[in-house]
Amino acid sequence: MDLWILKKKPFREFYDIHVHRKDAQVTERDLEAYAQKFKSVFELMLAEHLTLCCEYKVSRQFGAFVCFRIVEKGSKVAAIKRSSIEDSTVFHAIKQTQLEDAYGSNRLNELPTRIYTSECFYLIKSHFFKDWTVRQAIADANEEVKTMIQETQALA
C-alpha cells in the first residue's frame, strides 16, 4: 500500500501536466507547495544549524520566481511566505546575467534561470504550472545541493 501511495503522486502529477491542467498558469498555492518540497529536500543535506527560507511570487513581468536564503535556525525569518520583492529588483538581477548573454546572440531567451546574489538566490521560470510541480521541486533541490557542495567544497 505504501508503494502505491508513493507511485500515485507522480502519476497524478503527470496527468495534471498533460490533461487536467495542461497549459495552465501556476498559482501561488502551487508555488507554496513547490517551495515546501524544495526546502524539505535541500535541508536533507544542509547542516543542522542552518535552515532555508523561501519567498515566492507570480510576477506580472516575467513568469514566476522563488527566492531562497540560508539563515541560522532560530532566526526570526518566515520559513515560507509570499514575496514582497519588487519585480524591478528581480529584473535587475536577471539583467546582470541574462542580458550580457543576449548581447552576443541578439536574443533574450526565456529559460529557467538561477541567479545568485550575496544575500539570496533566485530561481526564475515560466508562469506555467508544469515548471513548478512537486517533482520538479525535488529535481531542482537536488541540483542545488550539488551546486552547494561544489561551491563550498564542503566535503572532505
Partner: protein, 219 residues
C-alpha cells in the same frame, strides 16, 4: 566564485554529512539500528529466509524509517537491493547498496541469517566440488565493493545466544586477513550498538577495507 554560498555561516560545516564516515555512521548505520525494533516486531520474522528479512529491511528503509526514507523518496540517495545490483557476477550480487551521488560514495551491505557463529560469515566453503566465496571474504577478494573503502555486514540472529555468537565471530573475523588496526577496531562498537563490532582487512589488491558488523537479535 558564487557570492551566495561564500556568505553562509559555517559552524564548522555547511553540509550535514561533511565526510563519508559521518554519512555512514549518522545516516546509514543509524537507520539500520532505527529499523531494528520495527523488523523485530514483524509477526513470524524469525521463521523467514534471509532474503525475505532483507526485503523487510528494504521496505522499512523506503517507507517507514524516519531517519533515511526521505533521502530515498527524494532521490537524494539511492538504494538498490539484490535484484537491482550491478556486479561482475549475476550469482554473487550484493544484498543492499546505498549510493550517494553527492558524496560519490557507494556502501555495500551484506546480509546473513545466523543460528550460531558460522564459518560462512567469514569465508566460503566447497559446495558440489566447487569453492563458493561467502561472507566477508567477498569484500576482501573484491567480489563486492571493488572501488569502495567501507562496507557493512548486517546479520539476523534467529537462534542461539546473540552475545556469544557476536563475540565468537569477532574473534574469527580478526583472524581473517586483518590490517594493522584491525585489533583496535574490534573493540569499537558501531554507533554504540551492543551487538556490533568493527574490523578492517587487507584486500587482494592491497587496499585496506573497513567493515561495520551489526547484528539484529531476532531470537
Amino acid at each position: 566564485m558564487n557570492l551566495f554560498y561564500q556568505n553562509i555561516p559555517r559552524h564548522p560545516f555547511v553540509v550535514k554529512f561533511p565526510d563519508t564516515q559521518t554519512l555512514i555512521e549518522r545516516l546509514y548505520l543509524a537507520a539500520i539500528l532505527d529499523a531494528y525494533t520495527r523488523i523485530r516486531a514483524i509477526s513470524g520474522i524469525v521463521g523467514l529466509m534471509e532474503n525475505k528479512i532483507r526485503n523487510e529491511v528494504v521496505r522499512d528503509f523506503k517507507f517507514n524509517n524516519p531517519i533515511i526514507k526521505e533521502y530515498f523518496q527524494s532521490k537524494t540517495i539511492y538504494l538498490a537491493s539484490e535484484n537491482q545490483a550491478n556486479t561482475a557476477s549475476l550469482e554473487q550480487r550484493t544484498d543492499l547498496e546505498i549510493h550517494s551521488g553527492h558524496h560519490q560514495h557507494n556502501f555495500v551491505i551484506e546480509c546473513k541469517n545466523l543460528t550460531h557463529a558460522e564459518n560462512r560469515y567469514v569465508q566460503g566453503r566447497i559446495k558440489n566440488g566447487e569453492y563458493r566465496h561467502d561472507g566477508l571474504e567477498k569484500f576482501v577478494d573484491l567480489t563486492y565493493a571493488e572501488t569502495d573503502d567501507e562496507g557493512a555486514m548486517l546479520s539476523f540472529i534467529v537462534n542461539g545466544t546473540p552475545t556469544l555468537i557476536v563475540s565468537t565471530l569477532n574473534q574469527k573475523v580478526q583472524a581473517f586477513k586483518p590490517s594493522s588496526d584491525c585489533a583496535n577496531l574490534s573493540l569499537q562498537k558501531c554507533v554504540e550498538w551492543d551487538l556490533s563490532f568493527q574490523s578492517s582487512h587487507i584486500c587482494t589488491n592491497g587496499k585496506v577495507f573497513r567493515l561495520y558488523h551489526l547484528f539484529y537479535d531476532l531470537t
